[in-house]
């Protein structure tokens, strides 16, 4: 178990040591996003912009225009919604090399509730051309994603989970933009997950295995551009696809996978995610249960879909 935000903070400092073009911007949330580690190590390359996210995006655009690699950090809900037009017009349209970091993703906002939960951030960013979207599954994937997105030229939206989640990947794992990973093999159904829902999906697969159902689990950490081939192959292999994401069922991973399937190989599919409602305050566990994100819920949806598909 490692807090994914801690992995982010450390990776950013490491990156800063290797690449002096990297600059970091914060909107008074550095202690929460862990951008404060970078601020302490490289104060001259850290810009505190205050509680003014729209301005921060524009400034990042200017820094990128001048060859810097800005990492813009705040809560996911503010970098995607509050500053949406600045992201679209100042950054994505001119295809600038800005890395947008959205912390406290999905329902997991440290109890703070609907105003701080980002349940539609992927949906918003997916609608804007040019932006790569990544939702790392664990601390190791986050650690690797940070230098990879810095090397990639163009705007990236990186989701940063707040809390501790089980470690999935070892140091032998190799993160690459646009490449999914099959974590568990199985021929009865495919669970395609992103972010920390990959963890829940692995647990769901274990529950299903006890009932004799072999579900494969695919970690789709890049949501855009999505690994189309992996989705089609999964549909060919199992004929049953379940997506799992810590995000609204509208516009996120489930929608992206459905779009590929209807065009390439329609099959039975269900989306696990936040139904079309705002969230609330509560612990991660309570919220997962109430809003249907838990491993148990995923397993139930898989079984139900298999029955329907027969």
């Amino acid at each position: 178990m490692t807090a994914i935000r801690d992995a982010f903070g450390k990776a950013l400092v490491e990156l800063g040591g290797k690449n002096d073009q990297v600059v970091v911007l914060d909107a008074d949330l550095g202690s929460s996003t862990r951008a404060d580690l970078f601020a302490k190590t490289f104060p001259e390359r850290f810009f505190q912009m205050g509680i003014a996210e729209q301005n921060m995006m524009g400034v990042a655009a200017g820094l990128a225009l001048s060859g810097k690699i800005p990492f813009v950090t705040s809560f996911a809900t503010f970098v995607t919604k509050r500053a949406c037009d600045q992201v679209a017009i100042s950054i994505a349209y001119p295809n600038l090399n800005v890395k947008i970091i959205g912390a406290y993703t999905g329902l997991f906002s440290g109890h703070t509730g609907a105003t701080h939960q980002a349940i539609e951030d992927i949906s918003i960013m997916r609608g804007i051309p040019n932006i790569v979207i990544i939702d790392p599954a664990d601390a190791e994937e986050m650690r690797q994603a940070v230098p990879v997105i810095a090397d990639y030229r163009g705007p990236v939206y990186l989701r940063e989970t707040r809390d501790e989640w089980p470690d999935i990947f070892g140091a032998d794992y190799q993160f690459a933009i646009g490449k999914s990973t099959t974590i568990i093999e199985g021929q009865d159904a495919s669970i395609i997950a992103c972010g920390v829902m990959t963890s829940e999906s692995i647990r769901a697969a274990a529950m299903l295995a006890k009932q004799g159902i072999k579900a494969q689990v695919i970690n789709m950490s890049t949501i855009k551009p999505i690994d189309r081939q992996a989705i089609v192959t999964a549909a060919q292999q199992t004929g049953i696809i379940i997506t799992a994401e810590n995000h609204s069922i509208f516009g996120g991973l489930g929608s992206a996978v459905a779009e590929v399937l209807v065009e390439e190989l329609p099959c039975w599919m269900r989306r696990v995610g936040i139904p079309d409602v705002f969230g609330e305050s509560g612990s991660n566990q309570e919220l997962m249960e109430k809003y249907g994100l838990s491993a148990k819920h995923i397993a139930e949806v898989v079984m139900h879909t298999i029955k329907k598909g027969r």
Binding site: D26, D28, L29, G30, S31, S32, D36, Q48, M49, G50, I51, A52, Q54, N55, T77, F78, R82, G110, H111, T112, G113, A114, T115, H116, E280, S281, G282, S283, E286, L287, K290
Partner: protein, 277 residues
């Protein structure tokens, strides 16, 4: 406030003390919440709800009422405790703060809590909402007054200044903005994070009537809200100097206590301090 034989200011002070205790207890029990910025605005809220606002706890949605928009929604515990003390809902609700299925969300949800006039928590939005409410009151010829409570760090949001411009353009004199000038935000002092001064001249240049007070002195708060009422043709801002974490010695002026919950030992210490003075 006309309690026979009781000094009204003394009564407000006692009420504020009760609210501060609720605030600390709620946050400590839930292990979530924002003590610093809640404690800094307790006196402002208590003054408003017990001596200024024309409200009826039995009719929380009555259109004729005055309204308070807590733009700095993270101070929800101070609002909830004040509303409960004022009789909008039972004090027992306070123990549910921050829990799953509770009406008392960490940031206020107007659809869940009687007396909460706006859903807030994403900073910078309250002044615009307040302007809308005050324009509607004028359209319908209601003499409601609209108060908007803003954080000083919150003033960094551009939308605040869009709203400030619009408030004076529309000459809304039924609207009063109150800035909780505690000089601290989430990651540090406002002056280090992103300076906002000189605030009085900024607001003046935006066409506002500007009043400056000590936000912990009830006579000054009451005088300023009265003075705002008699200023016609422009909006008033009350810049209230406050102390973040006011009333709890180990929290005062410390950004570390912006969003940290006291342990049960720390809670005991804080409650004892409040009882002492």
């Amino acid at each position: 406030m006309k309690l026979q034989g009781v000094d009204p200011i003394w009564a407000l002070e006692q009420r504020a003390k009760a609210v501060r205790k609720h605030v600390l207890t709620m946050i400590s029990h839930a292990q979530v919440g924002h003590p610093g910025g809640s404690l800094s605005c307790v006196d402002l809220l208590v003054a408003l709800y017990f001596a200024v606002l024309r409200i009826d706890p039995r009719q929380p949605s009555c259109l004729e009422r005055d309204q308070l928009i807590l733009s700095k929604g993270h101070a929800a515990t101070a609002l909830y405790a004040t509303l409960a003390e004022r009789g909008f809902f039972p004090l027992e609700w306070l123990a549910t703060f921050g829990k799953i299925n509770s009406a008392l969300q960490v940031h206020p949800d107007r659809n869940k809590v009687p007396g909460v006039d706006a859903s807030t928590g994403a900073l910078g939005q309250g002044l615009s909402i307040g302007l809308g409410v005050s324009l509607a009151a004028s359209l319908d010829q209601r003499d409601s007054r609209i108060f908007v409570l803003l954080g000083d760090g919150e003033l960094q949001e551009g939308q605040i200044w869009e709203a400030a411009m619009a408030c004076s353009h529309y000459k809304v004199d039924n609207l009063v903005a109150i800035v909780d000038l505690n000089q601290v935000q989430l990651t540090g002092p406002v002056s280090t994070v992103m300076g906002i001064q000189p605030l009085p001249s900024k607001f003046k240049s935006f066409g506002w009537n500007v009043l400056e007070i000590d936000g912990h002195q009830f006579p000054q708060i009451l005088e300023a809200t009265g003075a705002a009422k008699s200023c016609r043709g422009k909006p008033t801002v009350i810049i209230a100097r406050t102390v973040k974490g006011k009333g709890c010695s180990f929290m005062e002026n410390k950004s570390e206590w912006h969003g940290r919950a006291p342990t049960s030992d720390e809670l005991c210490q804080a409650l004892a301090e409040l009882d002492r003075d």
